[in-house]
Amino acid sequence: MAARDIAIIGYAQTPSQRDAIQSEVQLLVGTITDAVTMAGINRREIGFTCAGSCDYLTGGPFAFVSNLEAAGSWPPISESHVEADGAFAMYEAWMRLQEGDIDIALAFGSGKSSPSNPAEVWAHQLDPYYLAPLGADPVSLAAIQARALLDSGRATERDFAEVVARSRARATANPNAQLSGAVDVDALLAAPYHTAPLRRHDLPPISDGAAAVIMARGDKARELCSRPAWIRGMDHRIDPHQPGVRDITTARSATMAAQKAGYDGGPLDVAEISATFSPQEIILREALGLPDGTEINPSGGPLAGNPVMAVGLIRVIEAAARIIGGGADRALAHATAGPLLQQNLVCLMEGE
């Protein structure tokens, strides 16, 4: 049976919020229910469930277990979890569907960034010996990456500001975006540095959120959805961890993941990419080989809302939504993990 025979047929996401009053599980209860409803299935038809979240973000070991209450885990279900974005959970569920014995799978991602300081939490994803004790936070690392990109001559600070302006403008059409609106590039450039060469608007907002997708195989997908988003390929690759041993102005693992996912560099109707900091959109555009003129992050992308652990899956959803409901024929979605685009996932989708 063909791996290409699997499609997204339902999805849901919460709006990205600075500080949700619901618990992480409550966010998931509504999200998963909405995805199930959109897919037009009974919850009991789901043959496999995979969740993505981060215990260090939630604030305790095995915190992810309680998220399963939102999936409806009685009678017992077949499930798995990844300490990673929901996009990586979707990858595992996609792999599972290829076994051929189940027709429907659920994948979801969730995270509340509001209770903690992201600068402190994410320092702990770093090498505990050589990096974590320095307290190197994602913003400082991204700023070093931005400086390296400026030094290479492949981008200017104006280019960074233009990424932000585009993100905010596009986000005005996205009811789930946290930051949106028309902003003037020169006004952005006049703002003070936050961590030079990055300004505050070059950074993503702090967000709470959740997202879920339902995938189905073959005839089941056609039965449930008039225009499924067929997954033509999905792959993820990882680069070395230490930032000093690789060129951080490129994302070699993103290039490889795109190739392995079957992306040939051809035209795309939409690309939703996890460029968490504005310079990363420039890096990823090049690394993924997106043709000039590709519509990148029509949702606004992570700069408009960054619910870590769901944000990558939301890129998949935004891309899939434009196929299922929007008439797009070919879409690429990208998720990332680790410092400085260390790990990258690419999902290539098409309408029939």
């Binding site: 209450e69 939102a70 209770p115 939490v121």
Partner: protein, 183 residues
């Protein structure tokens, strides 16, 4: 020039304290639970689908996966059944504050479907504690009640409000009354 392997034993271990702080607002249903517990009342939510009562209320029923709200609020008793327990002998570790053996018990309050865990049992020798015992809350005086330990994730205890549970002296509950609500 090559370096020798570290000669000193202490170089073979790196001390690294990971310390992270989380400040999260209580969900509206948990906040309401806290409002009431400060007044000496225990509340839960009854699922509109299966009628199970969750204490404290989570804002949803995990079995039916339906949301619950203030409309589903019910009061439960501060008396109930000891459904399970263990006596923990403290082991020294970073953050350990207990020194003497203590009880860790689950109590199914009358009216609830889920027990409250991590309760101390007082007024009875450890070797006489048994499942099925009828117990009642020993409330701290109102002015001493503290709620900082209560969290959305349910890991905080109620012990700053309800100090412990003690035997009521009533006859033991029959196993049928609690065998499906142990934990």
């Amino acid at each position: 020039m090559s370096a020798e392997s570290p000669a000193r034993k202490e170089e073979m271990v790196m001390e690294h304290l990971v310390s992270l702080t989380y400040r999260e607002r209580l969900t509206p249903s948990l906040n309401r639970f806290v409002d009431r517990i400060l007044e000496g009342e225990l509340i839960g939510h009854r699922c509109p689908s299966c009628s199970r009562v969750y204490v404290p209320p989570k804002g949803y029923c995990p079995l039916c996966v339906v949301t619950t709200s203030a409309e589903d609020e019910v009061q439960v008793s501060d008396r109930g059944i000891l459904t399970g327990f263990t006596i923990i002998t403290p082991v020294a570790y970073y953050g350990q504050q207990a020194t003497d053996p203590f009880v860790y018990a689950s109590v199914l309050l009358d009216g609830a479907s889920t027990p409250v865990g991590g309760q101390d049992i007082t007024g009875v020798a450890h070797d006489r504690i048994h499942t099925g015992m009828r117990v009642r809350a020993v409330w701290r005086p109102p002015a001493e009640r503290r709620v900082e330990g209560i969290t959305n994730r349910g890991w905080g205890g109620l012990d700053a409000v309800i100090e412990s549970f003690e035997a009521t002296g009533e006859p033991d509950a029959a196993p049928e009354a609690y065998k499906e609500h142990l934990f």
